[in-house]
Amino acid sequence: MILRKELPQEIKRFFEEIGVQEEELLLTTDSDLDLEGNYSTQWLVLSSTRLMNIGLKGALVWIVKEFNLNELTSVRVDRRVGNASLEVEKKGQFYEVIRFSTALIGKFEGFSTEITAVLKGRDLIPTTEQQGEKEHKQKRHLKQRLSWASPKSTRKNRLLPRIFQLLKPYHGTGVLLVFLLLTGAALDLASPQFFKVLVDNFIETVALPAWFLAFALWFKQNSNIQYLLLLVLALGLLQLLRKIIRLIHNGLITKVASQIAFNLRNRLFKKLQELSFSFYEHHQVEQLMVKITQDVEELRGLILQATHNVINILLLIGAGILLSALELHLAVYALLPALFVIGLTLVYWNYEPPSYRSYWHKKAKLNEVLSTLLSRLRISKTFGQESRETENFKYYNDHPRQSMSKRGRVSGAFHPIISCLFGLGSLIVLYCGGQNVLRSELTLGTLIAFFSYLKMFYGALSQLTNINQWFISFTSTVQRIFQILDSEPKIKKSPQAVDFEFTGAISFEELTFGYDPNFPVIKDLNLTIEPGELVGIVGPSGCGKSTMISLLCRFYDPDRGRIMIDHVDLREINPACLRQQIGLVLQEPYLFRGSITENIAFGRPDISFEEIMAAAKAAHAHDFIINLPDGYDTILGERGSGLSRGEQQRIVIARALLGNPKILVLEEATSSVDPESEKAILEALEVLTKGRTTIIITHRLSTLSHADRIIVVNDGTIRETGSHQELLSLNGLYRRLLETQLPYLRNQQVATSSTRRAN
């Protein structure tokens, strides 16, 4: 990476004045802090002879610091908290050259590498980029690295079309449901008319309405008793039909909602299988479980509730129209309280969303805390911290209670107020309507029918005051679910991905990577491993050993550089082909609940039992498995419980060996096992590693005595490389690491021999 950012005119003029030719500038870039830690623009400039920090304030330009390159021996980035600085070594002392904020660390790390190259006499070909373009690329790269969710899941105006898309397979059933809803609402609205006839015409003896006479004639009924019978039968039939429709409707909607939930859970799980490791670093397993189980179940419930909302809307509209048709002035009196209710509801809706979100977050946090506390139960018992953990749980348990309590106070007041207002409306209608009946301006039957419709109207309105809560729950639940479904895996299969049989040649070329791109864990690492070579990688904790393996297995892609297997870029190899030909044994033996056979053959359903036994035999696991009461059929508990750590590890080694991988990676495979198991594993490994490219990462340096080569890594770079004896004789980092494990070495004289240091 070489960059020459376009210099501001003021600096260009300044350089002209002091005789610095722009053509001789190799690297130029700006920083955002001055050496005192104030936000200010300063420029780092590298020419063929000098390294300078140029200050710029308005039209004022000055040299803040300047160093001659021939006086410098090395360059480094000194990371601090929230900022860092570029430092140069001159006569054994480090001097600060320029300071910058955390966001620019990646850029200056790259600069540090380039300046080092210049100090070592390598030629650079300067490349000029447009001002801002590099930052834009870096920002985009950073956003891509840190972001996992597509923005489309968070845009609310895109949710409705996506929900319809979700419901698309059920459109046919949807049409039927709408028909049932409409019919049901119509039947509900028809009943009061029959009651009106009953009261007016059989109790008040008013003349029968024409529509009823026509209805009766159709059934050939023409006497009062027959009319009454018909009326009662019609009412009964209405009720029956209503119940049947409700039955069918409930059955259909439950089936549809359950099917949607089933499909969503499958889609979510499938998506989670596709996502890369980096996704799981930002999401806890407990949160994901909540999304798959609770959120989907909540959505199912909300879909069921959706139809009730539709029914209420239909009843509201229908009852409103019929109220107005029966008695307009009474309808006005009935609507007055309704207007107050609507106004109050709008105010309530403003309050509800944040309080609901707050409650949901606190509930989710409680689930998370509960899961964490239960998972560390063993540790809490070991240290006698049960009371403290209980207090901890109580603290978080209280938050949803408080939140719900607060919500409950408000909603507890809201609903009774609504009921009072509706009650007031009914009383007004009763008084005014009663007066009209007494004055014979209104029939009793009409008033009774009016009350029936009023009850429907107020009932529907009361239910609909909760529609906002329903809507918020629905959209937020759907958003959470879509967040997962919209996530894109960071590691993708190339369209030109190839399959081939490995010979086991590996090369890491200028590899740079950080879980946070601003903080690279591996820096410009170069390493070549020949086929069949046994290489040990050692170094202090956090130096990047495990990261190298994660990159080799393509759990992550590098930020810069590449990894090649048999001269093919890892990103161009079919991931399935890669997984099959790399056998991985991690420190933590990942076993699952199932038989030993299933655990060894995981991911290889086509494998024969003979091959499983051969792998177990090779891993020195066969003998202890045979001695278990159920042999290979032994069901292991969660995480392989029921076996010792060493036995678990040997099963994992057997799994890794299945398929005869060309590259074997062992990460701390013996670090947490007993000496007997370690001996068995090492004996197995001695045979297994023959003819296979093997990388062993270990803290136990004594296990690397047979390694062809040992690589010593520190701070993301290779510091030493050589055989065990060669590294001992260097008296460097390897020896110091070994001495912490084998103190007698401190007293040993080591014969000098030819050695190699890492370049």
Binding site: S595, T597, M613, F624, G631
Partner: protein, 173 residues
């Protein structure tokens, strides 16, 4: 011999099995060398009880050496099969449940009263969890009681209806 990292498969046509003077099982895998006090282990006692049998000598697990694996009993002569099955019966002492008289639950403990091929038995399971009741093939069940004794129901359908109902009522496996 199968010591080391490779599996040795025994050839049925070369395998000789007989009883020694003390009633111990003697084996000659290849007609040349002879081994006494041979033990036979099932590699897959639940899923394939008469296949992939491991012939071993030695007392403890660390001392043991595997002579080889016999893939299937069937090709062997009937007499040899009988000797091997007899040896397996010594190692794998399992009661076959013929009928279930009752299963009672109290304080999380299931108390079983059953008739087996070895007579009437009473045993307890510590709870209703599945590790103690393992499915065998489609309809079989292997039960391990609190003392480690083993009981097998080869086929639930072959139990009388009362026994089957009693089992299903108290087991969700």
């Amino acid at each position: 011999m199968g010591h080391g990292s490779k599996v040795n498969y025994l050839q049925p046509q070369k395998l000789k099995v007989w009883l020694g003077t003390a009633g111990e099982l003697c084996v000659s895998p290849d007609g040349e060398k002879t081994y006494q006090h041979v033990k036979i282990f099932r590699t897959r006692p639940i899923s394939a009880p008469n296949k992939y049998l491991s012939f071993r000598v030695g007392y403890t697990q660390t001392e043991q050496e595997e002579l080889g694996i016999l893939i299937d009993l069937k090709p062997l002569p009937a007499v040899t099969q009988a000797l091997i099955e007899n040896e397996l019966d010594k190692r794998y002492f399992i009661h076959q449940i013929l009928s279930i008289q009752s299963i009672k639950e109290e304080w999380g403990i299931l108390s079983w009263k059953v008739n087996t091929d070895k007579g009437y038995m009473e045993f307890s399971l510590s709870n209703r969890d599945q590790p103690q009741i393992i499915p065998i093939k489609e309809r079989g069940r292997l039960i391990t009681d609190a003392n480690g004794n083993r009981y097998v129901i080869p086929d639930l359908k072959l139990l009388d209806s009362r026994s089957r109902l009693e089992f299903l009522r108290h087991s969700n496996c």
